[in-house]
Amino acid sequence: MIPRVVRRRLTSGLMTGVVTALCLLAVLPLVFIFGDLIAKGASSIDWAFFVENPAPAGESGGGVANAIVGTGIVVGLAALIGLPVGIGAGVFLAEYGGGRLGWTVRYVADVLNGTPSIVVGIFAWTFIVKPVGHFSALAGSVALAVLIVPMVARTTEEMVRLVPHSLREAALALGYPRWRTSLTVVVRGALTGIVTGGMVGVARIAGETAPLLFTALGNLNFSVHVAQPMQTLSLQIYVYATGPFDEWHRLAWAAALVLMGLVLMLAIVARRVTRSKYASR
C-alpha cells in the first residue's frame, strides 16, 4: 500500500503532466497549420502572384492583385466608418457610462460582439444591397464596420478606465472643464491602448469572409469601385479552396499565407506600439 503522501505527490505530478500535455495538444494544430501554410503556399508566391489578376478558370498562373487591393479598400473603408464610432462609444462608456444608458449600450455591445458574422452579413444585404439592387464593396465595408464597432467600443472603454483617477483630479484642479479633462488628459493617456485595440479589431475583420459573401460578393476582375462588387483575399481563398481545379487549390494556399501574413503584421505592429510607448518612459 503506497503511503498516502507519496500517492498525493504522484497524483500531483501526474496531473501536472496531464495538464501540460493538454496544453501542448491545444497548441499543436497551430504548428501544423503554419507549417502547412508555408510548405504549401510559399512556393507559389512570387512577384507575379502579387501583381496579376486571377487567370481564367482552368488556366494556370495568375495572382491575387485584385484581392489584395480589394481587401485594402473594403477593410480600410470599414475601419474609416467603424473606428471613430467604436472609439467614441468606448469613451462614452468609460466617461459617462455609469447610468442606465451606459449599461444598455454595454450590454448591446456584448450581444453584438457575440452575433455570428453571417447574420451581420444578411443584415447588411437587407439594408444596402437589396434597396440598391446590386452588390458592392461599400455594403461589405458596412457589414465589417458593424462587426468592428462593438469590438473596439469595449476595448476602448477598458483602456480609458485604466487611466488613474488622480490624473483626472489633477486636470480638474487646474481648472479644466470636464470635457477638456476627458479629451486632453484621459483619452490622450489611453491613446496607445486605444490604438492597439483598433488595430486588433482591424486584424480580425481583415480575415472575415461570411459577411462579405452577400455584400461585396467577390469580383474576378480588378476593381476599385466601391459601388461595385469587390474581391478580397478571404473570398478568394474560399472560392479557390472549394473549387474543382488543383491549380486553384495551390493558389488558395498561397493566398492564405498572404492573408495570414497580413493579419500577423497588424497584430505584431499593434503590440509593438504598446510596448514602445512603455519602454521609452
Partner: protein, 301 residues
C-alpha cells in the same frame, strides 16, 4: 457638446441592434407565418416544392457545437491551468502568445486546412481505427468520405480553444492569491491547491468561459461549411455529413430564388441569432460574477 457627440456615437449600438432584430423578424415573417412550429422539427428542405424544415440544421448546429466543446474544454482548461498555475515564469508569455495566435487565424484558412489536411488525415489515420473499435455504436456508422460532422466538430474545437482558454485564464487570475496560498499553507500539493481551492472559486467563471466558447462555435460559418458536407440530414453518426444553420445561410442565400426561400433562410438566421444571444447572455452573466464586469475576452485576438 463633447458629451453629446460621444452619446451620439454610443447610441448607434442600440440602434444597430434594434435594426438587426427588426430586420430579421420582418424578413423571416413570411416563413414563420407559413410554417410555424413545424419549421423547427421537420426535416424536409425542398426549394422546389417550397417546403422548408430546419431540423437538420438546428440539430447539426447543436451537435457540432457540443462535439467541439467536448474536445475543446479539456484542452482549453489545460491551457488555462497551465498558464496560471503550473508553468514556469519564462514559459507563460510565449505559450500565451501561441494560443492567441490560434485565435488570429481567419476562419476561411481553418477551412482550407480542414479540407486539404485534416480530412485526409481523418480519412486515412483516424476513421479506420475508430470504425474498427467503435463501429458498432450508432455514432460511428456509415462510410466515411471525409466531409463529416466529425471534421466539423474537430475544426470548431481547435478554433474555440483560444477563446475558452483566454477567458478561463482571466477568471483564474481573478481568484485571490490567498485562496491558493491558504491551501498550500495547509500542506496541499500543487495540483491539490488548484483542484480544491482555485477551481471551485472560479467555477462559475470557467463555466461561463465554456459557454462563451459555445456561443462562438454556434455562429462559426466558413470553416464549418467547408468541411461538414452541407447535407440536410439528421444522423447520429459523426462520420456522416451534416449541416449547420450558419453553413446553410452561407451556401444557399445567394441562390435563393423565391421570396419564401429567402424568408426561410432569414428565419434560420433569426433562430441562430436568438440561440447565440441566449448562450452569450448566460455566459457573460457567469463570467461577470467572477471578473466583475470587465470586458473579459475582448483582448483575445
Amino acid at each position: 457638446m463633447y458629451r453629446a457627440v460621444l452619446t451620439g456615437f454610443a447610441l448607434t449600438l442600440p440602434l444597430l441592434m434594434l435594426a438587426l432584430v427588426a430586420e430579421l423578424v420582418v424578413s423571416a415573417w413570411p416563413s414563420i407565418a407559413r410554417f410555424r412550429g413545424a419549421f423547427l422539427w421537420t426535416s424536409t428542405w425542398d426549394p422546389v416544392a417550397e417546403v422548408y424544415g430546419a431540423a437538420p440544421m438546428i440539430f447539426g448546429t447543436l451537435v457540432s457545437a457540443f462535439l467541439a466543446l467536448l474536445l475543446a474544454v479539456p484542452l482549453a482548461l489545460g491551457v488555462a491551468i497551465f498558464l496560471t498555475e503550473l508553468a514556469p515564469k519564462w514559459m507563460r508569455q510565449p505559450v500565451a502568445f501561441l494560443v492567441e495566435l490560434l485565435a488570429a487565424i481567419p476562419s476561411v484558412v481553418y477551412g482550407l486546412w480542414g479540407i486539404f489536411v485534416l480530412i485526409p488525415f481523418l480519412r486515412e489515420q483516424v476513421a479506420p481505427p475508430l470504425k474498427a473499435v467503435l463501429g458498432w455504436t450508432p455514432f460511428f456508422q456509415g462510410v466515411f468520405y471525409g466531409n463529416s460532422m466529425l471534421a466539423g466538430g474537430i475544426i470548431l474545437a481547435i478554433m474555440v480553444v483560444p477563446y475558452i482558454a483566454a477567458v478561463s485564464r482571466e477568471v483564474l487570475l481573478a481568484v485571490p492569491g490567498s485562496q491558493r496560498e491558504a491551501a498550500l499553507g495547509l500542506g496541499a500539493t500543487r495540483w491539490e491547491a488548484v483542484w480544491s481551492a482555485v477551481l471551485p472559486y472560479g467555477r462559475a467563471g470557467v463555466i461561463g468561459a465554456c459557454m462563451l466558447g459555445l456561443g462562438r462555435a454556434l455562429g462559426e460559418t466558413m470553416a464549418v461549411t467547408m468541411v461538414i458536407g452541407n447535407r440536410h440530414d439528421v444522423s447520429l453518426s459523426v462520420l456522416q455529413p451534416g449541416y449547420t444553420m450558419a453553413a446553410a445561410i452561407a451556401n444557399e442565400f445567394a441562390e435563393a430564388t423565391t421570396d419564401l426561400y429567402l424568408s426561410a433562410l432569414f428565419e434560420v438566421g433569426l433562430i441562430l441569432f436568438v440561440i447565440t444571444v441566449i448562450v452569450n447572455g448566460l455566459a457573460r452573466l457567469l463570467v461577470w460574477r467572477v471578473a466583475r464586469g470587465a470586458a473579459v475576452g475582448s483582448k483575445a485576438l
